[in-house]
């Protein structure tokens, strides 16, 4: 299901690699989502402990290393699942972005997992978008992915359209350098 895009400039940029601001917005939203997921996990853990040991009902206080590790794990799991399932997390859905591989297809699980780990370990790699001529972060360069403008909702396996309205290329058949 697709719907018409009212903005002409946005229509022209569909399928192009997204810039720094949109990606930061999307990542900030994803960070908030990951934080909410961690909080939810803590709440669940607190309720479970209350059910098992009785009152008082309070959030568990974890050691810092465990807290950071669990938070990172939750973030990696959320991002991996989002990128490999639909190519877009909540933040990217909001910003109208989609993560694709070099051929414009949905990411494989290993690729999205690697990308998520790299982002959690070194978020500053996003700053390379500013310098990159192709709007690629360090993680994009390492894993071989790209983030494109893609406002339309579509099944995950369908490749995004090209900016000039051409049919998307099915695979890496081009020999262009």
């Amino acid at each position: 299901m697709t719907r018409d895009i009212r903005y002409v400039e946005a229509r022209a940029l569909q399928g192009h690699r997204a810039g720094f601001a949109s990606r930061v917005v999307a990542d900030v939203v994803d960070l908030g989502v990951a934080w909410l997921l961690g909080l939810s996990a803590l709440l669940i853990a607190g309720v479970v402990r209350y059910l098992l040991t009785g009152p008082p009902l309070r959030l568990p206080v974890l050691p810092n290393w465990l807290d950071a590790s669990l938070g990172a794990a939750i973030a990696v799991g959320y991002l991996t699942f989002s990128w490999s399932a639909t190519g877009r997390s909540v933040g990217k859905q909001l910003a109208g972005l989609r993560v694709v591989d070099h051929a414009g297809r949905r990411l494989a699980v290993w690729r999205s997992c690697t990308r998520a780990v790299l982002y959690v370990l070194f978020p500053a790699g996003l700053l390379w978008v500013l310098a990159s001529r192709r709007n690629a972060s360090l993680q994009d360069l390492v894993v071989g992915t790209a983030v494109v403008y893609d406002w339309a909702y579509r099944p995950a396996d369908e490749p995004p359209p090209t900016g000039d309205g051409r049919a998307p290329r099915p695979a890496r058949s081009s020999t262009q350098a």
Binding site: S22, V100, H102, S174, Q176
Partner: protein, 273 residues
């Protein structure tokens, strides 16, 4: 009597017409008139005498004359046969009819002349002014007249098409002052006479409302409008992000003193040739 005396003797006014143009008296006409007057007088007196005799001796004479009348009727029959009485009677009757016709003509001419003279002398306006029309009208029995009128018969004799053809409707419409008519209409009074409650009572509002709601898929409209609003908000946010992306890229490129634009477009294979 001298002829000259006759000429100068004065005449009474009623005999003025016997005087000729030169003032002399017309002697032959005078004598003829005198003879006619004498004869008329003699006839009148003899009739009077005869009437007096007849009145006095009528009864015995009638008895005596019956046998004479019978004898005379017999002799008349003989005379009719031998003396051609019928021929003479026919001539007499013809002459009599001629005389009657001449008299009738004279009377008609006289009547016409009299009527003209009378009409000339009548002041019609004065006559009409003296007529009391109210009294005349009061004496007319209008009901009786109306009873004698047959409207159907009159209507069948009227050619309505011809009348309508002769009517200039446009001219009539132009002469009508509609504004004045409308100003005289009291709309408030008309509206006050309308029983709105009764009208509303006759309308099945509940059924009507249900029908309208059945026709309009309200839920679908709300879903569409809310989703449209949400998606439009998100689109506005996204396009703002796009603009900021371009702005940031151009700023960085300027700082780095790069030439040309970034290669952000497809195909994606360019990244990994």
């Amino acid at each position: 009597m001298q002829n000259s005396e006759l000429m100068v003797a004065p005449l009474p006014p009623e005999l003025a017409e016997l005087r000729a143009h030169d003032g002399r008296i017309d002697v032959p006409r005078l004598l003829a008139a005198a003879a006619f007057g004498l004869a008329v007088e003699a006839q009148r007196r003899s009739w009077d005498a005869a009437a007096a005799v007849a009145g006095r001796f009528a009864w015995p004479l009638r008895i005596l004359t019956r046998p004479a009348m019978a004898l005379a009727q017999g002799s008349v029959a003989v005379a009719r046969h031998h003396l051609d009485l019928d021929g003479w009677a026919a001539r007499g009757l013809t002459q009599q009819r001629r005389a009657q016709e001449a008299a009738i003509r004279a009377v008609r001419a006289l009547t016409a002349a009299l009527a003209a003279a009378v009409l000339d002398g009548i002041d019609v306006d004065g006559v009409v002014a003296r007529v009391d029309l109210d009294q005349v009208v009061a004496r007319i029995d209008l009901d009786q007249i109306v009873d004698r009128i047959n409207p159907n018969q009159i209507a069948t004799r009227i050619d309505l098409d011809e009348i309508v053809d002769r009517v200039d409707v446009d001219a009539i419409a132009q002469r009508i002052d509609l504004d004045a008519i409308v100003q005289r209409v009291d709309l408030d009074a008309i509206v006050a006479r309308v029983d709105i409650d009764a009208i509303l009572a006759r309308i099945d509002l509940a059924g009507l409302t249900e029908e309208v709601i059945d026709e309009v898929d309200l839920g679908e409209i709300i879903r569409e409008s809310s989703s449209t609003m949400a998606s439009e908000t998100v689109d506005a946010l996204r396009v703002q992000g796009m603009r900021v992306d371009g702005l940031v890229s151009r700023m960085v490129d300027r700082i780095l003193q790069r030439e040309g634009q970034r290669q952000t477009g497809p195909p994606l294979e360019e990244l990994w040739p």
